[in-house]
């Protein structure tokens, strides 16, 4: 057992862990963020992809120990974590007088451009591969802001999707790339 510290989504998380604990297990069971998914445990499907010290890695194939002292960003970092959707539940004209209590976190408007593009382009169906896709694309677009569709496909070739056939995912990546370029550095 060893005690390690990993900065997860900007928050310092300390845990006394078995040396065998994988980074994905630390993220899910110690930092309690279940958005990073385990689809294969053999570093193939990519559903576990996260950002570690500025690089995208497959967290099922990294020991938590290897990330000790490091900085990890997961899908939850792309927009503030929502616990409850904020909506106006009444249409009566008096409703405009009241502001619903803010749920913890922000609204759909604060989604990362990649998340927005995935939503617009229907780039997810069951959603299981999606966090990994988002994190890989985020890293890729930071390196290559004006990719071709072929380059996008190469970038996500380490992420398996069984639902979408990838077409809408590539569409979404191209859309997000355009949004990010327009937003400037």
């Amino acid at each position: 057992m060893q005690t390690i510290t990993i900065h997860v989504n900007g928050k310092t998380v300390r845990g006394t862990i078995d040396e065998r604990m994988l980074l994905i297990e630390f993220i899910r069971d110690v930092a309690h963020l279940t958005g990073t998914h385990a689809g294969c445990w053999e570093a193939r499907c990519g559903a576990c992809a996260v950002e570690l010290d500025g690089k995208t890695v497959k967290s099922c194939n990294v020991l938590a120990m290897q990330a000790d002292g490091g900085s990890v960003f997961t899908v939850e970092s792309l927009s503030q974590q929502r616990l409850k959707p904020v909506e106006h539940v009444t249409t009566q004209s008096l409703a405009g007088v009241y502001t619903p209590l803010e749920a913890i976190g922000s609204s759909a408007a604060d989604l990362h451009p990649l998340q927005k593009a995935f939503h617009t382009c229907h780039a997810l169906q069951c959603g299981f591969c999606t966090p990994g896709m988002l994190m890989v694309l985020k890293g890729f677009l930071a390196e290559n802001p004006s990719p071709t569709r072929e380059e996008v496909r190469m970038a996500i070739a380490g992420n398996i999707c069984r639902c979408t056939g990838y077409q809408h995912i590539v569409d979404a990546a191209m859309m997000a790339a355009e949004t990010l370029r327009a937003a400037g550095p």
């Binding site: 570093a43 995208t56 497959k58």
Partner: protein
């Protein structure tokens, strides 16, 4: 996985001592991309794991006085892919950037690939074709051996139980007139069915003096097609187009994978691929700028 003690030495000497102290079965880990797969399946059950990722000199890229490229064994594929290289060294970056996938390349290391020594991997072929030197250290001292001697004909490496691969030394950027690499894999980032490298050295007059044609995925260690490669010697590089490419390719195929032994579909496929890939490499080597 089964339980293990995890060490993260900050220096090479400390690493040598840990390996010697904790005895056989201790596993070294740079990026862990191969080791962790084995640990998760319980195919490897080391009592101790020694991490090499916090030893700075092991992931450094530098040039020696004579222009040799010195790459720390724990240098990641991502580092190699992102480095700015000249001459044939560009191929090292290209090869590093075209194996596994983005996320695995962030953690996987060239030393890890060499030590895993899977014959389908690209790194062993690269090392043997380029005549790289492997710098190995242990508590007993440092030594350096040729890449071809690093891989055992029976599979695996010739590393001893207390050895740590520290550094790989590649010939200088101008050492080869042409260095080509190609492979066939079913899907992008699958291990190769066959990979191949052709390293061509010329003399001052442009005549080919050495042509090393190496294949991976055929035998338990990289296969060198000596006779086929020898067909290039003495030929002017600018006249390579006149070589009987298909014939040499067929010879190379027969040399490393005799058709009489290719009794399975997989082997027959490899035999054909060797011909296709070799022909491509020969053509490319003879092309201007190839």
């Amino acid at each position: 996985m089964t339980p293990f003690t995890y060490f993260q030495p900050a220096g090479l000497e400390e690493a040598f001592c840990l390996v010697a102290e904790h005895g056989p079965g201790t596993r070294l880990m740079a990026g862990g991309q191969s080791l962790l797969l084995a640990l998760k399946e319980r195919l490897a059950r080391p009592p101790a794991v020694v991490s090499l990722s916090r030893i700075p000199e092991l992931s450094a890229i530098s040039y020696a006085q004579d222009g040799s490229l010195e790459v720390g064994a724990a240098t990641t594929y991502l580092q190699l892919q992102s480095a700015v290289f000249t001459g044939w060294h560009r191929q090292i970056g290209a090869i590093a950037g075209n194996l596994a996938d983005r996320s695995v390349r962030s953690m996987g290391t060239i030393g890890g690939g060499a030590c895993q020594a899977d014959p389908r991997y690209d790194v062993p072929t690269l090392l043997v074709a380029s005549g790289a030197r492997m710098v190995i250290g242990s508590i007993d001292g440092m030594r350096s051996i040729e890449a071809a001697a690093f891989f055992s004909p029976a599979g695996g490496t010739t590393l001893g139980p207390r050895d740590i691969l520290c550094r790989i030394v590649f010939p200088p950027a101008g050492a080869f007139a042409s260095f080509g690499f190609d492979k066939f894999r079913f899907r992008v980032f699958d291990a190769a069915v066959v990979n191949a490298a052709l390293a061509v050295t010329t003399d001052g007059a442009g005549r080919i003096t050495i042509a090393r044609l190496v294949f991976g995925g055929i035998a338990a260690c990289p296969s060198v097609a000596d006779a086929a490669g020898a067909r290039l010697c003495g030929v002017q590089r600018s006249e390579m187009a006149s070589l009987p490419v298909a014939d040499i390719a067929a010879q190379a195929s027969e040399e490393v994978l005799p058709i009489a032994t290719a009794t399975t579909r997989h082997r027959q496929f490899q035999s054909e691929l060797i011909k296709t890939i070799t022909a491509g490499l020969l053509t490319q080597a003879g092309a201007p700028g190839g």
